[in-house]
Symmetry: C2
Subunit: 164 residues, 2 copies
DNA sequence: TATTGTTATACTCTATAACTATA
DNA sequence: TATAGTTATAGAGTATAACAATA
């Protein structure tokens, strides 16, 4: 049953929710399409982006990606099969594995990142120059609050470290 | 190679792109989590949302969802197996099939839609009341331009018909 | 015992290609 | 022939549960 709230959801709020949902589909569509052009899923692209400045273990990767460790095993298997990443033994802990970006993976992620930025800048072209900072601020407000509430590492996002 | 543009991407543009990408992940995360709580994928949820006010054929559904017709066959198979939708013969064309929301499917999509709206209103709570209309307008600008460029039916979005 | 990671298994999602039935 | 839809097949992605190796 829909809970009866003290203050019902306003039409303006619904408009905002609707617009933001549709924008999110547009953005994810660009990401998915560009990734697919290189035979990557969005998850694989996120994986490569995370590895740009880190050599995490499997559990850490699972946490960053929001996946089970067994799912990450398969993900790394396939990426390693394409020579995009490599597994190396962890220095001290004999059980551990460190995942590293291979040269081909690094070239690929840099290339896709450039394309993503170019296409998203084009997608967002209708936003007047004078409103861009405001849009950034509003989106950042929302994301930061959510990250704080869920204790999530923001830098695990696709583009957080992608900007030059 | 990254193309050398006349006007290079500004830091403000990069900030905007970054913020919008992260917001899109946050929104999709809410959608995916709520859908999963009812054993739905985002695609299944979109399917049910589309069927709220339409009884399309398989090809039309494929176009709305951006999938191959064979993918839609499987999607409908599984939804029909859960008694969420039904296939009925098209009136005139003996080859056609119309997909209809079953009672259980309608109950489910209404329930999830209520939850989606509630959670996204909560997610967007940090946006000051005075800025909501502006955020709606900016997001709508972007989405409308994209829809125009790609000749896409906006009402196929998850929430376009979801609002009361 | 606890932790790190892999393997076995099962299911959804998606695509391509071949097929059936109707137009 | 062309169109609407299904089926066969293959692979990615994901999860749960059981396992192995190390701490």
């Amino acid at each position: 049953m829909p809970e009866s709230e003290a203050r019902p959801t306003s039409a303006a709020d619904l408009d905002m929710v609707d617009a933001v949902v549709q924008l999110s589909f547009a953005v994810q569509g660009v990401l998915g399409r560009l990734a697919a052009e290189h035979d990557l899923s969005i998850t694989q692209l996120r994986l490569l982006a995370i590895l740009r400045d880190r050599n995490p273990g499997m559990l850490e990767l699972a946490r960053h990606l929001g996946l089970e460790k067994s799912s990450v095993s398969g993900l790394i298997d396939r990426a390693e099969g394409r020579h995009l990443v490599t597994r190396t033994a962890a220095p001290v802990d004999g059980r551990g594995v460190l995942v590293t970006l291979a040269p081909a993976g690094r070239r690929l992620v840099e290339q896709v990142a450039d394309q993503v930025i170019a296409e998203l800048v084009a997608l967002l072209a209708p936003v007047p120059a004078g409103e861009r900072a405001r849009l950034s601020r509003l989106a950042t407000l929302v994301v930061q609050q959510q990250a704080a509430q869920r204790d999530v590492d923001l830098s695990a996002g696709l583009l957080a470290n992608l900007s030059p």
